[in-house]
Symmetry: C2
Subunit: 340 residues, 2 copies
DNA sequence: TGATTATGTTAAATCGAATGACAAAATCTT
DNA sequence: AAGATTTTGTCATTCGATTTAACATAATCA
């Protein structure tokens, strides 16, 4: 490996000072055009590599942004990540990614790493039971936080997410208006704000329509395809089997539909199914999935913007924002079969 | 925000030197046990945060590893990433992730960023047409590289990937042994080593069985569900329609099966379909997908190990490694229908 | 001509931790 | 008890870039 090229290497080669080189490379108006050009040329010729660690030690800006989500393998988060990436790219920030798999321990480790690296900020979807102090403490140590997808009661950080209660009520009402009365709620947990909101949305919609909510109709579980798939036997075996299912998300819905198909029944005909998120896959699924668009792109984009604004000192007025979900009706929902 | 706590803050508080504090916190045997304990306690009490930038400026080890793949939203890469993550976690390295979407430009930018940050190494699945010089140059600048999934002809860096030609021949032979003769090859491109290997594997298997290879049976395309889905009309409209399809990967296969279902036909009955990768989803799909296990987990794990070994100076003998794929027979492949 | 302003450049002081070279104190030899 | 050895701890410098006050020099003005 060639010896390290640094500012002083360039400075010596040209007989100027490192100060001039530093200023020139960063396009400071303090340097004469001619000098600047000469320096830039020489830098390129020598194969100079800017040392961010050294710079950030001095400036205390690292150009690093952390992103933490539950699981990047989940397409819902993956879509959010992509839009965050696009936004950050534009501003020359690098991002460091981590999953927390809902383990507080992992999340704390990651935040600690970010602090050590002097990260400029974090975008995170907090793990279950994240205490509000964790957020406050990070902020105190100079790490601004923006939350996505999930909120924490009483938190002061900006939050960007979909209006889950409203979104689920859209799906539930749609099924009710088709004539369904026995509607199951499949997948998910009560431990996140998202979870509580979604179940509440379902309960409210049912109650408003004068339909009694039967707690047995709720099958909690993992928010994955496998989760939906594995819930299907229990679902199909219910006494007085439901004619429809509101699923936690598209993954669960697709898993459930696959399970239904395995049993020789047809989703969208024998049983109506709704998803949530409107992943790219919802349209391709067979039958195509009725679902609720949840604005993942928006969430990612806005969260990234909010953070960048904050970093650049622009006081962002966007503190909290609920993205308004929209129903996407496709083939997985139809009127209930005659009998029953 | 409280004022910064640094080594000297602790040192002053206890009346020792920063050198002692530095050594104590890193468990150096040069410090007396009693002193060490006192220092650690004080550090915790003050809420000291280790400044990695400062340290790495001095030590030129950053604890950062870069990971570049085509697209983290692709479950194939996501599974690799997860195993890399597990491995790196263990060694307290932080990883920075980036997609290159097969754009050389993006890839170069990312490598540049890693150099600036003083990353310790990179694990990458190179973008299409990555010149061998790009790899060499990074290495010259002190950035060790380990390749995964794709290789580059003549490259000197370690490479970990599946034996694609062999894997596809497993799938193809399986279909041939079931009695299929007209077998299409759906999805993918010729521009990667993976692409060439996979198509070659198919061609060889066909030729070996004495079946003529009809170039029309190849439908290249995106390696996604949507790609498979959108290839289905063309596939179904072929004159003398094939009775089976070897798909580039599971995503394409599942997309194709969905397309087939839309047309009122049944994969695994009317048309046999094979995938590649054996994603978690392959088992859940309806019909469950016959596919080829490609050792994603292995690839990620071994690549991470190889890099870590290299970083720690352990001379790793693992330079190149082809993981041997295995056929997983499920319900999407059956004997061809009588007629035709 | 001397005073004032504009324009370029630089010396020197950081940022926070790591470390090789030393020094002082404590313990051991013989 | 003098010298050798070990234990424990400190000093001073280094890593590479940023930044600001200070300093030349040239240009403009009265």
């Amino acid at each position: 490996m060639a010896q390290k090229i640094k500012l002083s290497t360039i400075a010596d080669a040209l007989g100027v000072s490192t100060a001039t080189v530093s200023l020139a490379l960063r396009d400071s108006p303090l340097v004469a055009d001619e000098t600047r050009e000469k320096i830039k040329l020489e830098a390129r010729a020598l194969g100079y590599i800017y040392n961010r660690r050294a710079a950030s030690l001095r400036t205390s800006r690292s150009g690093i942004v952390g992103v933490v989500v539950h699981d990047i393998m989940n397409p819902f988060y993956a879509e959010i990540l992509r839009s965050i990436e696009m936004e950050l790219d534009r501003s020359r920030q690098t991002f460091i990614l981590s999953n927390h798999y809902d383990q507080l321990e992992k999340q704390r480790n990651f935040i600690d790493t970010l602090l050590q690296l002097g990260a400029d900020g974090v975008i995170m979807s907090p793990a279950i039971d994240t205490p509000i102090e964790d957020i406050a403490q990070a902020e105190e140590n100079g790490l601004p936080i923006v939350l996505i997808a999930r909120s924490i009661p009483g938190v002061k950080a900006p939050v960007f997410r979909g209006d889950d209660a409203f979104g689920i009520s859209l799906a539930t009402n749609h099924l009710i208006s088709l004539g369904h009365k026995r509607i199951a709620f499949i997948g998910g947990t009560d431990q996140t704000s998202t979870g509580r909101d979604r179940y509440q949305g379902y309960v409210h919609a049912m109650e408003k329509a004068g339909i009694e909510v039967d707690p047995e109709l709720r099958i909690p579980g993992p928010r994955t395809k496998l989760g939906g798939f594995e819930a299907s036997p229990q679902f199909l075996a219910m006494k007085n089997r439901p004619t429809a299912a509101v699923c936690w998300n598209d993954l669960v819905a697709i898993g459930l539909m696959n399970g239904i198909a395995r049993a020789g029944l047809l989703a969208g005909h024998d049983i109506s199914v709704t998803g949530y998120d409107d992943l790219e896959e919802a349209e391709i699924a067979t039958p195509s999935l009725t679902t609720v668009w949840n604005g993942q792109r928006e969430v990612g984009r806005k969260a990234a913007r909010a953070l960048l604004d904050r970093l650049s000192g622009t006081p962002s007025q966007m503190r909290q924002e609920l993205i308004v979900p929209e129903l996407r009706i496709r083939q997985s929902t139809t009127r209930p079969m005659k009998q029953v």
